[in-house]
């Protein structure tokens, strides 16, 4: 199978390359970037010197289509939808890491991202890419809307509990992310001296991932309401979400529900006697989950690596499903 990575020089592109070069059934035909075209990929990421020295190509869709079966798109939202349209028409499978194909409700997407969606007709061919929850959709999709990092950490532990009516639909998610979530472009917000030894919330009650989370959780319980507060951690990678809700069920019942839902899901680890931490999932595709309860208060803790399970790892996991490969190929 031949794959290409569009917009490959950001952090998610780098992670995709590192995963895919270990994939036994995949060949990377092209990595692209308009800014770095002509350079070797290992000039941008010297860690890959002598391992992946491929020349970066410009974003010439025609050329890429001619030599790819599957396209990973690491473009900004809005830019991504045109590319997906092009490759879809050519019969290619698209795994889109932007937000452009994460919403079934176009108006919610448009309100959240403040742009028009030009191709609502493509949504019929699209699946939201959490493999543990939407396997059937993913296997028959042509376009995968690869989930946001924060949403992945919040939806996986709460979806089954909401679906089974075991918890209140009102959820508070207090999430903390490493700096790589903000991308590779230098800004004041990512300057070392501004981030290091600091910690703070940001985009309070206004982060775009909140509507993504809500829209998916409403599929489980139409009354779902989410309060989502992201914070910036002075670390490179990882997300921890501490999630508060109410439940009149026992801790055991809640654990049973999650264990049943995820019993064959390799990448979901449920802890009954310890607390997840970012360190335990860093550089892996795992999501670690634990539950804590006192009277009706339920606290859910989940951790992922934002660049792997929260982005590129999950993207490859989606690809594996689509190709009927073992879900964990190249991911363990």
């Amino acid at each position: 199978m031949k794959v290409s990575i569009i917009g490959s020089t950001g952090y998610t592109g780098f992670e995709l390359v590192k995963i895919l070069i270990k994939h036994p059934h995949i060949e990377i035909s092209a990595v692209t970037s308009d800014s770095y075209a002509g350079k070797n990929f290992s000039e941008i990421y010297p860690q890959l010197t002598n391992i992946f020295d491929k020349t970066i190509e410009p974003n010439n869709f025609e050329q890429i289509a001619s030599k790819s079966d599957i396209i990973f798109l690491c473009l900004p939202h809005a830019a991504s939808m045109d590319a997906v349209k092009y490759f879809f028409v050519k019969g290619k499978i698209c795994i889109d890491l932007s937000a452009d194909f994460r919403y079934q409700d176009i108006s919610l997407y448009e309100k959240t991202y403040k742009i028009n969606h030009k191709y609502p007709e493509l949504l019929d061919f699209t699946a939201y890419g959490i493999p543990e929850l939407f396997e059937k959709n993913i296997k028959s999709a042509k376009i995968i809307g690869n989930p946001g990092c924060y949403p992945t950490s919040i939806i996986i532990p709460t979806y089954p509990l909401l679906k089974e009516g075991l918890i209140s639909p009102e959820i508070i998610a207090d999430s903390k992310s490493g700096v790589s979530g903000a991308g590779k472009k230098p800004t004041e917000k990512t300057h070392f001296c501004e981030v290091n030894e600091d910690f703070k919330p940001y985009s309070i009650l206004s982060h775009r991932h909140e509507s993504e989370i809500s829209s998916i959780l409403k599929l489980a319980d139409k009354n779902s309401k989410v309060i989502f507060t992201p914070h910036l951690l002075p670390i490179n990678r990882g997300i921890e979400s501490t999630i508060y809700t109410k439940s009149d069920k026992s801790l055991e019942q809640l654990y049973d529900c999650l264990k049943e839902y995820y019993k064959n899901k390799k990448f979901v680890r449920i802890y009954e006697n310890s607390i997840p931490s970012i360190k335990n999932v860093q550089y892996t595709n795992f999501i670690d989950i634990a539950l804590f309860k006192r009277r009706e208060t339920l606290i859910i803790v989940s951790c992922i690596d934002n660049l792997i399970k929260g982005a590129s790892g999950q993207a490859v996991q989606n690809m594996n499903l689509l190709l009927n490969l073992k879900e964990s190929t190249a991911l363990i």
Copy 2:
């Protein structure tokens, strides 16, 4: 005024020394530690070489009493109460940084710390040391129960709102602290490689500060209930608390309440157009607060330096009040 610092070689003792050597009305008569007696203080903290090279004395209470008017106690809980008793009887003022004198409800203290309190009679002479809220008590007290770091960050922003009945008494406090809060003693939990690049909650639904917070907030609203989740940040110092509750009042009314309560309080800074961050309070005695609201959800963000406003700075602020000095002496 002559002060001594008992158990001076931990992080709070070090901060006390750094503040008090700049205090124009104070002379440090003694710094003590059983483990380091005989060494110079600047051997333990070379940063103070040529600035504070005083020899550390053993914990000989008689000698210390003979040369001190005020005693700062940086001992572990339980050990502290005997020392306070001794110095109280000698007519000294005690500012106790342990938990031993933070509770008016002895049984709650005993349940939380799992030991008996030997001197309940001293509580009549004790004040809980948040100067912005309990100034009158502090000024007439002989013993100050200096607050915990997490409680300081949570009580200051919520107490007035609860007192005025403007918010729901059910509060969720999701707090994050730098590693100095865990003390100077090396443990697996504070090993660099375990903490660095990691983040996680700990003591979920079981941290001892929760009962301290509840017991004080019940003074404001007897129905107060607090869910408190601490997390360990990979930074040296600072606490951020993101606090969730409900309110049917407008954001303006809530701000007005806080601004009125704290209008002459130098160390409370209330932000209406920006988000507090740990960096802005590090190495200061400030608490920075902001409010955010959507429909009935209220989010309060507060930040302090855990070793200053959360411990030694607040201790000196209490001393300044007791001595009728300007509250900010040596603190700005």
Copy 3:
């Protein structure tokens, strides 16, 4: 005394403000910045909210001259020399934190910075601002060329030993600096994810500070030759220099020389039984020094805070000398 700070919104300007607001004989008349004019200083640095909320002015030299006795210049090199010329002509004292007045040898400056020096005539009124070495020059100067951070850490420990002919003139300085040395402007080099958990040398055999170091050390020993290698440390602030040279003198003789030179110099701390570390000088104006010797090999270790002794603290120390104030005013 009225002082102004030109180009005040970078890290050295921020440190100057923090020091000068504690200075009993100084009033800050103006802080300037073309980019941030009209904003409050505490909007740029919220840490100073309620402490220093002064409005930032544009770089209008005429207005600044009219209300200042002393001018601190935190401009880039080249831009600085025009400003210094202007204020010098108006009879003001200039303390220039750029490189423009650090060289007595104009051709070396021009070769190093690849621009022409427009005002060589001003060098007669200029002193190189290491107070511990050039006190007499500084006291009679009108312009202070405030030293570079790396040069400060290397010159102070080696100058006396070279001057007395106790060490070989061939010196290797392996120096490591925190990220604030690279300034406040976001670049790829200062992006959190690029710096954090990394370490590397940079500008090997080509850093501009090498010629500054050499030119000053040649005043002590005309045969001085310096190999200088800077490295980027993943910390906010601090410089450590490990300096290698040869000597046929005993360790005691070498220590005696330094102790004699710096016996009344408050900010030079010489350690005979321990190793300096960045932590011990952070947020202080101290330089900590120790010597180590085996056969003819001499290793000198020195540490400073790059923003204080390496920039703004030393600038104020120079001002104190010029004004015949106690050298440590506002600095301890």
Copy 4:
């Protein structure tokens, strides 16, 4: 092939497990530790939950010998030699990560480590395990003295240049290591608050790795003399060495020598147009090297991951050689 890891719960044991579980020709028969016997390995390292949950065994040599062909020893020096002796007699291959079998000169070992070596007769069966330099010895050895982390970073770039007489035998190595090099045991030296935001040299002119480096470099040039200064970096992993020496050869000649020596060596990467950095080798078995020259001064920069190329990765690389497997198996 069946391997066991003795003393498996430290950082090098953890890395060995992570590498060996991906090795196609290896089965891990046992992981041992006296302190943690009876626990699951994934309780100590939860990152491996569901991946490597093997029960840790006590250090019962007889049992281990009965089920292993190859033994990796991650014991402290002195403890290691008895274990090696036991397994050697049983006909097992030993890869020893301690210092006990790194020295051919017993008296130098004994002077450096201040203990007697009980089995000098074993040295005839021992090879120093730098695969790029001592392949032939390694292939015929029964015991591998796996090199120290600092020595690996210094010997690989300098050995060929010394051997060919291209550089002066007097070498200064200024090295910096992440904290994992100090091991997993909590000490004051590894307390987060002591290390974070700090940097300093340690063991100046007295580090035990200096004699290891010298003894190996003397094989290349019997006049070799090394000055070695280690420093502690506030990062988890990685070593950077900046090495100073003199040479009258051209930079091109020096590069040619290294390129010739290492032309088929996968894990040695030589850079002619960029500067190595720790980030580029983290989590890899590579050593990155570059040279810089001005007149007769030569500066060599090298970077490794201290736990991989500096310990467990190199140990597996040695095993691969011994087993006539592809050198990079499980390492790329």
